[in-house]
Amino acid sequence: MLGRLASPPAPPGPFRPRFWRSPLRGPWLTAVFSVVLLVGVSLVAVTGFLSYAAYNPALGGNDLTSGKGLLGFYLFDWPTEPVWLYRVTQGAHVILGLTLVPILLAKLWSVIPKLFDWPPLRSPAHALERASLLLLVGGAVFEFATGIVDIQIFYGIFPFDFYTAHLYGGWVFLAAFLVHVVMKFPTMMQGVRSRSLREELRTGLADTRPEPPDPDGLVAVEPAPPTVSRRGALGFVGAGALTVFALSIGQTIDGPLRRTALLAPHGRDYGSGPNDFQINKTAATVGVDTAQTGPSYRLELVGSGSQQLSRADLEGLQQYTYDLPIACVEGWSTQQTWTGVRLRDLARMAGVDEVGTVFVESLQSGGAFSRTTLSGDQVRDARSLLALSVNGVDLSLDHGYPARVIVPANPGVHNTKWVSRLTFMAPGQ
């Protein structure tokens, strides 16, 4: 048997158990981090897969990834109710993901001696398990790193498409995560039960002793004297999570608290005017200028026929006002008061009484979101507008003047700005 073959002695350094001196490493501490990660990472994963569903990737042209195949099995028509749905799911995905960074780092710290297991491969089972751990650790760090870099608009560093990489990387990670949970759940529960949390929180540095030796070898054979208690270590990691959370949550909140998101990309203050809220793409970036949005602007309405509407024509139609959030895939969100024409009224004008989908096109040149498809349900919602103004004044150019889409619970990038053409299609068309 492989396991019984004599293996050469471990090379010096981290491959020898005596190298690892921390008196805090042990199954209890690792289990505490694991419980938090099990709950937290599950929530981040679920909200992440929901974000893909929110794009309605089954509708023409909406899927930005390379093709979902069987992995789209869970997709459903993204609802418009409650209006804050995407604001909450995507806010949770990003903010919770950021908050978990210190806990993930702490967990990796707590098990790092296992990386240097000697002999490296004891049996085929051990080899497969280690391969799976590479997917687990690589996947976790990959998903966190790509997400964190993406929300800072640092796309330039990716040699791949973010949506495809982050989504299918997420599946690879999930595959390894599930098997890890299945295999380690009993160990984790045993670890949690091995000590009393309440007791640990009462134990200071002077009384801190290493955990008893464990079969996995997490506990140091020759522990150094402790420099921090277990409660101190937990407090340190918790303070890290709290710091990151407190400095990010502001970008999902309106009002003065938004400014508490000091390091978050969309926690900034634009001013106090009606159009002073977060911009995701400026007009200049996507080649939209006032020449296109001035008096010569026409919205083309396509259905049973085709007609051209000027901005004045649109203003002459029945207007409706709703408070709706705009929530970005990058996690930030803001609620504003939008006024405009109902999409379903425009569908009727176009001669399409029963709408299957609407294809929305923008004046913007290029970019993945210059065009998008909305579902029939989204068009039928009374609060789905082609907005002309916000907070009582005309939209600014950067917010989509002369006209933009705003649909409840829709991902921000699908609320197309500078709309130039709406093509309503009957079901099955």
Binding site: V101, L105, I157, L205, T227, L263, R268
Partner: protein, 171 residues
């Protein structure tokens, strides 16, 4: 147990090193991961993605971890060699250094692109704002963290000074 008494399952278990359920669970996991990878391969450039995937684990395990672990060891050793003792009036100072450095480093690790102004062009095209605000903000937060740690340490030392000599310092 003699070989003749061993069932095929036990023989497999013996050779493989774990029970067959272990093997099946892992194979199922690899199958799902493999299918997800095939989605990406269909999409075109996958080599960069594979490098990032393995690179992510390597960067953490062989760069980030040794970096912070060695810094911690070095901080404790270097300061002890010099005129600093490990404790002041029986209060160890190491954690009043670890906490602000750790929290500040964590914020830098997460927000490095904005703090170092790496996506300046893309960021201002997207938001209409400049990235120049982030470095001063991070420095300010770092300053506040160190100040808070210094004040907390001073208070702790003062308390320890008032306590009867020979008392165990609190952690």
């Amino acid at each position: 147990m003699t070989d003749t008494a061993r069932s095929p399952v036990r023989r497999l278990t013996g050779y493989y090193g774990a029970n067959p359920l272990h093997l099946l669970t892992l194979l199922a996991s690899f199958a799902l991961a493999g299918y997800a990878v095939s989605r990406v391969v269909l999409g075109g450039p996958w080599l960069g993605l594979a490098l990032w995937f393995v690179g992510a684990a390597v960067v953490h395990d062989l760069l980030l971890y040794p970096l912070y672990a060695l810094s911690d060891v070095a901080a404790r050793r270097e300061f002890r060699k010099g005129e600093f003792a490990a404790t002041v009036r029986g209060v160890p100072w190491i954690n009043y250094l670890r906490v602000p450095v750790g929290l500040s480093g964590l914020l830098l690790l997460i927000w490095a692109p904005l703090i170092l102004q790496l996506p300046q062009g893309a960021y201002s095209r997207a938001s209409g704002l400049s990235t120049s605000a982030y470095l001063p903000r991070w420095l300010l937060i770092t300053g506040v963290l160190f100040l808070a740690a210094a004040v907390a340490f001073a208070l702790r030392v003062r308390l320890a000074g008032k306590a009867a000599p020979g008392d165990d310092p609190p952690d």
